[in-house]
């Protein structure tokens, strides 16, 4: 944008050249235009998502009045919360195990823990379907225990991400702090609680956020583990999309997008952009 530049563009200021700006602008439009249109049309007073026929919030009322949809959303949030809690504990333990100890078969165990990240979702879904069928997992439990199967599946693919994030944070831990605490009479548990946990706190926040969104986002694995009484939000939206494209789906989606944005901003406040970028 030479016209507006007060200083000439330096050789490395790639992002100040016109074509780079156009490119990035086009990519941002590509990424956001569909979402923005979806959100705008959730307020459209028409059954079909085509022509603008005036502003209305009736589809929000409809979506929030749709018991199945609300139940699915509550199920999703419950599963995400439970899976996040369990993933934080398991993931942190696994990270400490791999960071602190030397033991036989370490390489194999390390690889196996990160395997759920690599195995395709569809295979993991199939595996859980067969596993729960083989062990005869009860399907007629009362809420929230009927969500157990889905929650277990979610923990399995969420906790390796926590391990990954916590481990990279542990690498910068100064073990002399641990030694000092022990010299001053702290027990193993006290060291863990008062020295190690404060150090890895940013990683725990990042890991919790990652687990929560991954769990909330998951469709494929849930699709294979959910029964007729345990519909989650993505599974419900999927059947609605298959059935027809309605503004009700737009309204429900808009609510979830807003929730995602809020969560992301909480993470930003807690960690800063760079830290989040590094978690990927």
């Amino acid at each position: 944008m030479a016209l507006f530049a007060r200083t000439p563009v330096a050789p490395l200021e790639y992002s100040r050249t016109l074509w780079m700006r156009l490119w990035v602008g086009a990519v941002m439009v590509f990424l956001y235009a569909p979402l923005v249109v979806l959100m705008i049309f959730s307020f459209n007073d028409s059954k079909r998502n085509v022509v603008w026929r005036g502003f209305t919030t009736k589809y929000y009322e409809k979506a929030l009045g749709n018991d199945q949809l609300v139940e699915a959303l509550i199920n999703s949030l419950t599963i995400a919360a439970l899976a996040t809690l369990a993933s934080l504990v398991l993931g942190t333990l696994a990270a400490v195990l791999l960071w602190r100890f030397r033991f036989p078969w370490k390489g194999a165990i390390d690889g196996t823990i990160s395997l759920p990240i690599i195995v395709p979702e569809i295979c993991l879904g199939v595996a859980f379907l067969m596993f729960f069928a083989a062990v005869g997992w009860p399907t007629d439990l009362v809420w929230p225990f009927n969500l157990g199967a889905i929650t277990i599946a979610h923990i399995t693919f969420c906790f390796p991400f926590v391990t990954m994030v916590v481990r990279s944070r542990l690498a910068s831990f100064n073990r002399e702090q641990e030694e000092a605490a022990k010299d001053l009479g702290a027990s193993e548990g006290q060291v863990f609680r008062d020295v190690l946990i404060p150090h890895i706190k940013p990683a725990l926040v990042a890991g919790a956020l990652l687990s929560f969104t991954l769990s909330l986002d998951d469709f494929v694995i849930t699709y294979f583990t959910s029964g007729p009484d345990t519909i989650t939000f993505p599974v419900k939206v999927y059947s609605m999309v298959r059935f027809s494209v309605t503004p009700e789906v737009n309204a429900a989606s808009t609510l979830l997008i807003i929730l995602t944005v809020i969560l992301t901003f909480i993470a930003l406040k807690a960690l800063g952009v760079k830290a989040i970028a590094e978690t990927h």
Binding site: L12, V96, T112, F219, V273
Partner: protein, 301 residues
């Protein structure tokens, strides 16, 4: 300080390792083992399956029909990865060299869709691409405009605009997968480019190489680990994609994940589905093995 030997504090080691090992074995390895066992079984009646150690399921998976679906899934995933790389590389460059004020916002701009629900993003894209959607309307308007300009200069007007079928075909699947996976590519590319020593780029430019040559000869080789990471992070999920081909594809754009799903939800042929699942897992392992071999090359040199 070195790692501690597990024998020096057995109790802590047990407290840390047992929950993890329990979970990984019971809720990951056992389910995977069940799939593996089933892949050597055959259907006996409606619900009974006999583990006969047959290789029939794998033999069936190498039939021409399934080979073409595997091949097609690879081709689609590779094409998607390539398009993401071409679109994403300049974006990662722009973020890396953006001013301190802009960089966090650009990163956030890439990350926010990454955190947004995959199903919602696919649905949003379907709304845009439908025959009545904005993509078609926009092109229609352009078409009318061209037609009008042609009549202005005295030429025959173009025939009336027919909406193009943008959904439910192979184009839609590739488009949808690129849309979904673009952030996966940009973030590792950015992480690699950010670590780059800028004085090397400056040196190359000072010594008379052009921007394009500098990028190809200096930036790309130095950022190679990040590029490979980005390619793997995009390729692997794209290969196993289920939702996008299912919702946006037509009858001829099925990918391997859709075939697997059908064995469980409709065809009720669990052993065959299990065999296909394991073939997909083996394909992933092969990709990762190739990647880790490439990683070791510079060390040998």
């Amino acid at each position: 300080m070195a790692e501690q030997d597990w024998k020096t504090s057995k109790r802590t080691f047990a407290a840390v390792s047992l929950p993890t090992l329990f979970w990984v074995v019971v809720f990951f390895l056992v389910p995977m083992a069940i799939v593996w066992l089933y892949s050597f079984g055959e259907n006996r009646g409606l619900t009974e399956i006999e583990f006969s150690g047959t290789l029939e399921n794998y033999k069936r998976a190498t039939e021409w029909l399934y080979l073409t679906i595997f091949g097609k899934s690879f081709a689609v995933a590779a094409l998607v990865t390539l398009i993401c790389l071409i679109i994403g590389f300049p974006v990662a460059m722009a973020i890396t060299f953006a001013s301190e004020k802009w960089r966090p916002w650009l990163l956030l701009g890439i990350m926010l869709p990454f955190w947004t629900n995959l199903l919602i993003r696919t649905y949003a894209l379907m709304m845009l691409l439908g025959t009545q959607g904005f993509a078609n309307k926009g092109m229609g308007a352009l078409w009318e405009g061209t037609s009008w300009i042609k009549t202005l200069v005295g030429l025959q007007p173009l025939p009336t605009w027919e909406p193009v079928q943008l959904l439910f075909n192979n184009f839609a699947v590739v488009f949808g997968l690129v849309y979904v996976h673009l952030p996966f590519m940009v973030l590792p590319l950015y992480a690699a480019l950010d670590r780059l020593d800028r004085s090397l780029i400056e040196a190359s430019l000072d010594l008379g190489a052009g921007h394009f040559r500098t990028i190809m000869r200096i930036v790309v080789p130095l950022a190679a680990p990040g590029i490979i990471a980005g390619v793997m992070i995009t390729l692997i999920p794209a290969l196993g994609a289920y939702l996008t081909p299912d919702l946006m594809g037509g009858t001829d754009s099925q990918m391997i994940a859709n075939v697997i799903e059908r064995q469980f939800k409709k065809a009720n042929d669990w052993p065959f589905g299990a065999a296909l699942s394991f073939l997909l897992i083996y394909a992933m392992f092969a990709l990762i093995a190739i990647q880790s071999m490439r990683k070791k090359v510079p060390e040998v040199r």
